[in-house]
Amino acid sequence: MASNKKYWKSVEELDQNSSIVKTLQENEFVESIPTDEFLGDKETLEGSSTTRRDFLKYVGFTTAAASLAACEGPVIKSIPYVVAPDEIVPGVANYYATAIADGFDFANVLVKTREGRPIKIERNDLSASGGVNARVHASVLSLYDNNRLKAPMVGKETATWEAFDKAASEKMLAMKGKDVVLLTQTFASPSTSKLINEFTTAYPNVRHVSYDTVSSSGTLDAFQEKFGTRAMPDYDFGKAHVIVSVGADFLGDWQGGGYDAGYAQGRIPKNGKMSKHIQFEANMTLSGANADNRIPVIPSDQKKVLDALTGGSTSGLAPNVAKAVNMAKALMLQAGTKAVLVTGLQDQGSQRRVLDANAASVVMDTAKPRMTRSANNAEVTKVMNDVINGSVKGLITVGVDPVYSFPNTDFKAAYEKLEMSLAFAMKNDATASLAQLVAATPHYLESWGDVQMKKGSYSLIQPTIRPIYKTRQFQETLLAWTNNETSYLDYIKDTWSSVLGGTSWNKALEAGVFTSATAIDVAPVVSDAMLESNTSNGALSSAIDDMELVLYTKTAMGDGQQANNPWLQEMPDPITRTSWDNYVTVSAADAKDLGLENHHVANGGLNGSVVNVKMGAVTVANVPVLIQPGQAAGSVGLALGYGKKDAVQKEMQTGVNAYRLDSLSTDTLRVSLEKVAGAEHEFACVQLQNTMMGRDIIRETTLEVFNTTKKNHEGGYDWNPMPMVSKDHQEIPVTDPDADLWTSFDRSVGHHFNLSIDLNACTGCGACVIACHSENNVPVVGKSEIRRSRDMHWLRIDRYYSSEESFDADKDKKEGFNGLFGENGSLGGFGELEDPAANPQVAFQPVMCQHCNHAPCESVCPVAATSHGRQGQNQMAYNRCVGTRYCANNCPYKVRRFNWFLYNENDEFDYHMNNDMGRMVLNPDVNVRSRGVMEKCSMCIQKTQLSILEAKRDGRPVKDAEFQTACSAACDKGAMVFGDINDHDSEVFESKKDKRMYHLLEAVGTKPNVFYKTKVRNSTKA
């Protein structure tokens, strides 16, 4: 039945006389559409003869033409040299030995150059001292930093060197008789010291003060007091049986760093013995994470601990600390000369105590001390105050950025008012941007130089590339000012003539290092008159409820010189696993008291509260809070080197400037935290699961168990069990061929590569991460992508905390679960296991593609883009990959990385791959991956293939040491050993037979070609 209902479209229709209804009957719209307005003015439209059809024709033809043109390859030009240098063969890498000495990092390195461009830093095996850390590896990218100074500046305008020299000499003349300070980094360079002496003799009104932004002033003072020279004792922790550290992060950057290689040697159990390491500290550091016993102690109590260790009493210490101190004391006594005590307490008194306590120790070397720090904080403080009060009229800075790094913010205004301000700088940093004269200095890879890192251990710095910009070395300028006609190179040769003895200059240059009995004093002389009696800036507060602050340097950022280096910004901190930030680390207990929290948000990111850090009148505002397991309650940590704004790209202006918090003081620092209500910080943290929850990911045992356990009936050890599977109700090991679905490929012929990772030797330093970055053209993705867990690191170093006292206790707890609910219920229990303990055990595990012989990724790839090579490498053909990501989903180790975007030549990712300078660092032998492609560790197949090719060319078998991956070559601790297990003389073959050997997630049956060695801690079972 038809309905009689009438429907109205609008109320207007009710009105029969409405004009709108009438119009709508005739037209589509009530009002005429303003097409003319939309199309532009009528005259031009009419003047144009293009009709709609013509337009469509044009569109059609252009599309067709464009697609036809796409079929034609581009014309590529090749421009050879006019006169080719003898040493350059296109396609063949050259290596040069040189050294970095930027005032913070001192290390002997090899530089790999291709077609004349440095592309990678490697360790110099001829050098005994280590220190080639992540920052040193990354320093090659800083060479190609787009924000470097490209020419000298006069009066904030770019100038020529002639104009600069003229202006500078006029200025120096005008300053005659007035107090001028030459504030430099530590050079530790015999030639530079000599040159500076000549300079200050020629200009008596100039006095030289050296300034270490992260200083070891107390150590130097104590050493000078005891031994007469301004230097730091050297330690070889490999010789130690007992190491007791009171707040010294000697595996980090403590006293110049580079002690980790020696330490790692002593940590590998040999003949049932390894060193014992007890750490008293406030922040959770790399050293604490590696220690056998770690006792959280706030800095003021650390003094008491040190006192107790060196003969004082344990009164006033918490019972657990006192117990640990007594244990440490007993152990040290037992170890005798094989014991060593180190401290990170900055004051001269504490350092002196340590020097005295170690007097008999074989670990400490005072005969050949380190020269890599030289500053006296009291002297530097006086310079700072003298500039502020106007008694210093001129300041020449070299390689330091005091406007950024001096604690007193009044310094900036005073600096601008100086009669003379001259900055020798690589970048237009906070100081250089205010200076009247700026001398652009070259990167160390473009410079000549010499260093005496240890007394009698010399290194040469040689340029590996012509200066890219119009830069001139500081030393060349000094030579010009002292009217010395010789070049700096000749000047160095002259200095070295006394050092070299019978060795030729070229030999020394080739090796890069040279040991001589002749020592040259490089440390500047500090006169007592020039010391400030009170190094504090007066901001010290003594309120009881305040927190004690420990300023530290992050593995990635160091003192902040390379803040504009995207590799380092993106490198996750080994402890917090957080990148692109600095933050206040707070203990869980304090966080609870102050109402501070960390929580995960829906997109998987970590968010945290924000606080203002106050120290007297100084406030560092809006500092994010990261709750750090193991942080001593009552203390907070904050990393230096962040918060740089000048000459730093916007994306990399991260964090806050912690130098403002009285960084020159050698006393205990106190701050108060004030929560910023409503504010929340977004972290870029790559690891959100902090515990292993009693699982078998990192295997750990104690030395006692390791030494005493006998083989079980399966021929293994209970502490390193082989996972068993059930077949026909019989338990068989997972490696049994019967437990295998697949027929195995016979790999006994040719090379079969394996990588061994010794968890005892790995300190988590992260040098391998950056080495991998630079070898394999791994892209930088930026903070927001990292936050989305889209990090591209092919090699990551997982860090796990224990939830109970130790990992063993975690396992016991998990195994003790009974039913879902109740005290031992798994439902609540697993939740508890997710939370790290207040003072957890920590373990590191480098994880890269495990190159499984039965790789789960390979069987799910629909296009066979990933396949297995007979040499054991799981290969990835990028050009074949269509980006289904099945492989990543099927990988039990989560080591595959997907290119969500085009990371090169894309303005959205404005890092080094987006500019011509930054792209110079790319390794030409490795593909730069495009968007939509899966990538992962290739086991450096380009390196193994090259080694094989070289052997074939020479017609000889490959030598064991030739096979290296970027990570194994970067590891100076021997934690990573790479090689051919079909070569039965190889180190890796020996390593695979070790009883500590296990495969990651062995139960899955993937048969990886990467294996780990169980971590053994020198402690009794808790």
Binding site: C71, G73, V75, I76, K77, S78, I79, P80, Y81, V82, V83, A84, V89, P90, G91, V92, D746, S748, V749, G750, A865, S867, G869, R870, Q871, Q873, Q875, M876, A877, Y878, N879, R880, D925, V926, N927, V928, S938, I941, Q942, Q945, I948, L949, A951, K952, R953, D954, G955, R956, P957, V958
Partner: protein
């Protein structure tokens, strides 16, 4: 009708004109050539045997001297008239002795030539020297190019084209005329009422096919398959630049260098032995020889011009310009202009290829992949450089293991495993993705 006739007339006129032009132009050429031959055949004058002198000159002097051009030493044509004959004997036998003796002429000459010492020839007798001088005293032979001028040679080339064009034009005209004539004839026939025998209307073939469903289907399938075949062929050649022979900034003839002069490929492309790149030689490598070779011989020059349209001497001048070599002073000026060669073999970035692996280790001849380079006047891409092409070779090529200790053990074990005498590159793992893609 009128229009048609008029068109015919105009075309006939133009045909006549063209034919006339051609008829007159041919004898002009013949005359010019005849003149050149006569002049070149004119007998040489002077004492001594010029023919023996030429042999001596080429053996002893030609390395540094040219007859008509300054090289390392000054040009020598007419040198006998410039200096006293006895002085010349002394100079040629031992120039330095003459300079040391304080002879003014000798010193002046020595200084004028950048004090470069001339080799002494004590073995030459005065008679030999007379012969050489007789050769150098021969008058300058008139060169055909010089006389006729470059313009005419080029014009000759053009006139060939004109002839061809004219012929084509004539044929076209003839065809048009034929059509016009038949058209006119038909019209005349129609006008005169001539009847054509009409054919019986048959069913057209296409209709017959259209009605046959089976044929239609087969035909359609066939057509589609053919189309697919050609489409596939077209798409598979996209990006394959086999035969790519771009014009280079300097015309470099591999035919002359590698073919006629038999210079080893590795002399210039030396890095092929030790690097992944074969390397484009830097210009200083060219100058190793071209310091002394400023020009090519006359017949090579003529060959270049006639067959390839290239003046080789001008190309050598381009090299001098790029490397900054001043022929007059025989010295480098320091002003260089690097040459932007057009790259011919372009492997994509994702494919890793190493020359030294193939050249040094495998001992593959350059020609295997690059083709008969020694015959190529203009270098071109000989091989397709596709993955299939690489893989095929790896499957078929036996690995040369002799005298290479690296292979000894691997070969023994692998050949046992695969049960073969000779291993191919594929047996060694040469087909694995990761060997070339990383």
């Amino acid at each position: 009708m009128q229009k048609v006739n008029f068109k015919n007339i105009s075309s006939r006129v133009s045909l006549f004109l063209v034919t006339a032009m051609l008829t007159f132009s041919i004898p002009t050429f013949a005359q010019a050539e005849a003149a050149a031959v006569t002049e070149a055949a004119a007998p040489a004058e002077g004492a001594g045997d010029a023919v023996a002198g030429k042999a001596l000159f080429n053996a002893n002097c030609a390395a540094c001297h040219k007859l008509d051009k300054k090289a390392t030493g000054p040009l020598l044509r007419g040198v006998a008239d410039k200096y006293d004959r006895d002085w010349l004997y002394l100079w040629i036998k031992d120039s330095q002795a003459l300079v040391k003796s304080g002879d003014a002429t000798a010193i002046a000459l020595f200084e004028a030539n950048n004090k470069s010492v001339m080799t002494s020839f004590p073995a030459l007798t005065n008679g030999d020297i007379d012969n050489i001088l007789a050769y150098t005293s021969e008058p300058l032979p008139p060169k055909p190019e010089r006389k006729g001028g470059d313009g005419e040679t080029v014009e000759g080339g053009v006139s060939n084209n004109v002839i061809l064009g004219a012929l084509a034009f004539i044929f076209l005209l003839l065809i048009t005329m034929l059509f016009l004539v038949t058209g006119t004839l038909k019209k005349i026939a129609a006008h005169n009422g001539v009847e054509y025998p009409t054919k019986e209307a048959k069913k057209p073939l296409y209709k017959a096919i259209l009605e046959n469903q089976f044929l239609l289907l087969v035909g359609a399938v066939f057509l589609l398959l053919t189309a697919a075949y050609f489409m596939y062929g077209f798409f598979m050649q996209v990006g394959v630049d086999q035969g790519y022979a771009p014009v280079q900034p300097i015309h470099y003839s591999h035919r002359i260098h590698a073919g006629d002069n038999e210079i080893d490929c590795n002399y210039c492309h030396s890095s092929a032995r030790k690097s992944k790149h074969s390397g484009i030689p830097s210009l200083n490598v060219c100058m190793n020889c071209h310091k002394n070779i400023a020009g090519v011989s006359d017949d090579v020059l003529a060959e270049g011009i006639n067959e390839y349209g290239v003046d080789y001497n001008k190309e050598i001048e381009k090299l001098y310009d790029a490397v900054g070599w001043d022929v007059e002073t025989q010295a480098y000026t320091g002003e260089t202009k690097p040459v932007k060669w057009v790259r011919i073999h372009n492997l994509p970035d994702f494919a890793y290829f190493n020359h030294s692996q193939h050249v040094t280790v495998a001992g593959v001849a350059c020609q295997t992949c690059h083709g008969p380079v020694e015959e190529m006047e203009i270098m071109e891409q000989f091989s397709p450089l596709t993955m299939g092409w690489c893989i095929n070779c790896h499957r078929e090529t036996n690995v040369d293991l002799k005298g290479n200790e690296y292979y000894e053990k691997i070969h023994e074990e692998l050949s046992k495993k695969y049960g073969v005498e000779q291993l191919t590159a594929a047996h060694m793992g040469g087909l694995e993705c990761g060997k070339c893609h990383y």
